[in-house]
Symmetry: none
Subunit: 433 residues, 2 copies
């Protein structure tokens, strides 16, 4: 089966928004065993959207459209797809109720144009939206004839309409569209991701070049991701059991080669989740003392549900005075070595562990820029200290990019260091550097 992705929105055509939906949908189609030969972007224009859908039904079996399901007049996707398929739009009472309750819950009132979102093409499946007001829609059926002119009249197609915001599109796709598409295409594509932290993508590539070169089924591909490298092992087979049998020896070989640099092989496990799992497994409490990251590290840890057993309190100590007053960093240390120094990072971690009464304390201090850099201490210089039961490790880092990128990289490095220090302390693992 051939799939085609059409992303709708003038903001995409103007380049105001990068089309991440396109990449996400393409990746998921590939994983579901659908061949995707075309992706396109059209603006909020009825005529051109109609043309794009007509072209797509001619050459593809599954059309996935994102965007243009909103309440406003220039949201035309549902109307246009319904017209191409010869379907009327009918008010769906259940969708109307969902929209009304969405607004009620927020103490707001739905405006008249919101009911447009409850209009559903005849014979379509409705996909519930738990993260917004626009329901998704799947229109399965035969392409209608246009007095004999359409070549593909009678061809059976599946048109999937999804909301544009990724926070709505992704959960809807995973919950409702994956089961639908899986049923269409017998045979599976199964992927397992081996997730590493603290190593560079080029180093990983070099170490598995022989495996990549020898790959046929499963295939092996690496992806760099903010301080992490993911190796994706993908097998095609008749069923999941068969596919897992193909990926298993490859994953095992990767585990042999990378050992503890792998933090997880689970789809749902993020780096912060791996860190929190280690905290939980060792019944440890944790605290953070952040300067340049300014709360980002705590925010990532707290994104893990159930963290409340470990994380009680944390500190954003942005000024020197706050470092002294809250964490007890010595005035002399700040004067002699500066706020961005190995010594200050160490005292911050020790102080945080003490005031928060935490088993693990991680402290971050650095120069995120754009100003504040000197020749000796340039923008991107960061010190991270991690104390585990009083044993403190301090490391120096040099990051590049803008202020935000430096802060995000620092946060990933802090999580990586926390993980290493806990493994070294509790599991007697030794890391290279």
């Amino acid at each position: 089966m051939i799939a085609e992705i059409i992303c709708v929105g003038t903001e995409l055509l103007l380049g105001n928004v990068v089309n991440t939906n396109g990449a996400y949908l393409a990746r998921r189609c590939a994983a579901l065993g659908l061949s995707c030969y075309y992706q396109s972007v059209v603006g909020d224009n009825g005529g051109r959207l109609k043309e794009a859908i007509e072209t797509a039904v001619n050459r593809s079996d599954v059309l996935i459209l994102s965007g243009g399901l909103g309440p406003t007049e220039d949201d035309l996707t549902k109307e246009t797809a319904a017209a191409v398929m010869g379907r009327k739009l009918i008010l769906d009472e259940k969708s109307k109720e969902s929209i009304a309750s969405y607004f009620k819950k927020r103490g707001m009132e739905a405006t008249d144009n919101n009911w447009k979102q409850a209009m559903i093409p005849e014979g379509a499946l409705i996909l519930e939206n738990h993260n917004g007001t626009a329901p998704g829609v799947i229109i399965p059926g035969e392409v209608p004839g246009n007095g004999g002119e359409t070549e593909v009249a009678g061809k059976f197609v599946h048109i999937v309409l999804l909301p544009g915001p990724p926070s709505e599109l992704v959960p809807m796709f995973e919950e409702s569209v994956v089961p639908y598409l899986s049923a269409l295409e017998p045979g599976v594509i199964y992927s397992q991701t081996v997730k590493l932290c603290g190593v560079s993508e080029s180093k990983v590539e070099t170490q598995i070049q022989d495996l990549i070169d020898a790959q046929t089924n499963p295939t092996i591909a690496t992806y760099a991701k903010m301080g992490e490298v993911h190796i994706r092992v993908t097998a095609a087979a008749a069923d999941e059991k068969e596919a897992k049998k193909l990926t298993k020896p490859v994953v095992k070989e990767l585990k042999n080669r990378f050992g503890y640099d792998i933090y997880s092989t689970e789809e749902d496990t993020t780096l912060e989740k791996a860190v929190v799992d280690l905290l939980m497994a060792n019944a440890l409490t944790v605290t953070c003392a952040e300067s340049c990251t300014g709360g980002m590290l705590s925010a990532r840890l707290i994104n893990v549900p159930g963290i409340s057993d470990s994380y009680k309190s944390g500190y954003v100590t942005y000024s020197n005075k706050a470092k002294r007053r809250i964490l007890g960093v010595k005035k002399g240390t700040l004067q002699k070595h500066g706020a961005v120094s190995r010594q200050t990072a160490e005292e911050m971690a020790k102080g945080a562990a003490f005031v928060a009464k935490a088993d693990v304390a991680v402290a971050v201090t650095g120069i995120a820029g754009p100003d504040g850099g000197t020749e000796e201490k340039p923008v991107g210089l960061v010190y991270i200290a991690c104390s585990v039961k009083g044993k403190v490790t301090v490391r120096e880092y040099h990051f590049s990019g803008n202020r935000e990128k430096i802060r995000v990289s620092t946060t990933a490095a802090a999580l990586t260091l926390m993980r290493r220090c806990m493994l070294e302390y509790f599991s007697k693992v030794t890391f290279g550097q």
Copy 2:
């Protein structure tokens, strides 16, 4: 003149790479006054690429293709574009020399397939590549007839071929393509964005439906963005001065209608920047006491360079004990009303202002889920308190979505509330709700 963007590469079709070239080229075309109605992605497949180029010469005047200029067999863009335009490929000696010297400089030797990159379509302009080996190409000219069958035979088009890596494409576009395209299309497209917070997109749309309906030049479009709504006003004119003259009255009218709900009309100003500007303008210090957001609010504020004058310290008080110990929330308040309550939020804000000696203190407490919700206090219930010079405002919110979405929405709402409270206190502005 109508432009069309075609990005070539199987890695894009599989979703392994996000198509940032598409967004970059679209943005630059718009700025150069070219209307871009279509973007598409095709894989490294000669037949489908030919089809895409033929479709594009039919409906557009300027085709911009990226990718597929490499030395390998599946790099087909130049060959295919030349075929559609009826041009032969001829070895360009100067390009051959550049490629040889590129390799020599790196102590490497060019392989035979590298000379493929020096083959240039007859009558094409060559764009030097200072960051890689593949030269870019512009093929200007009339679409050839195919025995009278092609509708557009004789139409004059410009086909621009650029290398795929952004580090090569972007400098080549800026250096060589911008001057070329500027000469084709006198005139500019100028956009101004009016940014609002604390209002819903559908409400904004309703309030400006008359303006949208009456729009021709400039056009008006709204975009929802995590707790914000952006209205984009875009004008086409002979020059920037003329374009600004067209957008100015519309922006003025939007300012009349939305007043202080608009936090900025500057391209670079984020909501957190608007909040920090208000802090600076009133010489205020600020602190945050965060429970469910766990540092996210501080992290957004600290993303603004120069925040160190205002932000000294902040607190992540995740446990009840931390709320009591660090912020001085009363045990009785927690017992009687719970951690997620109007009363606790208020005491957190007051306590944070006191311990941090800050003029403005904002406190956040809520249930981010997925667990911890009850019928009375469901997941998504959040209280935010903001204290400005001792005057405390507390508001109740109901957010939906997963844990991360609730926390991100809460952070945007906290910034919106901070802004409102400061404007009410210092500028005597009154807000609706």
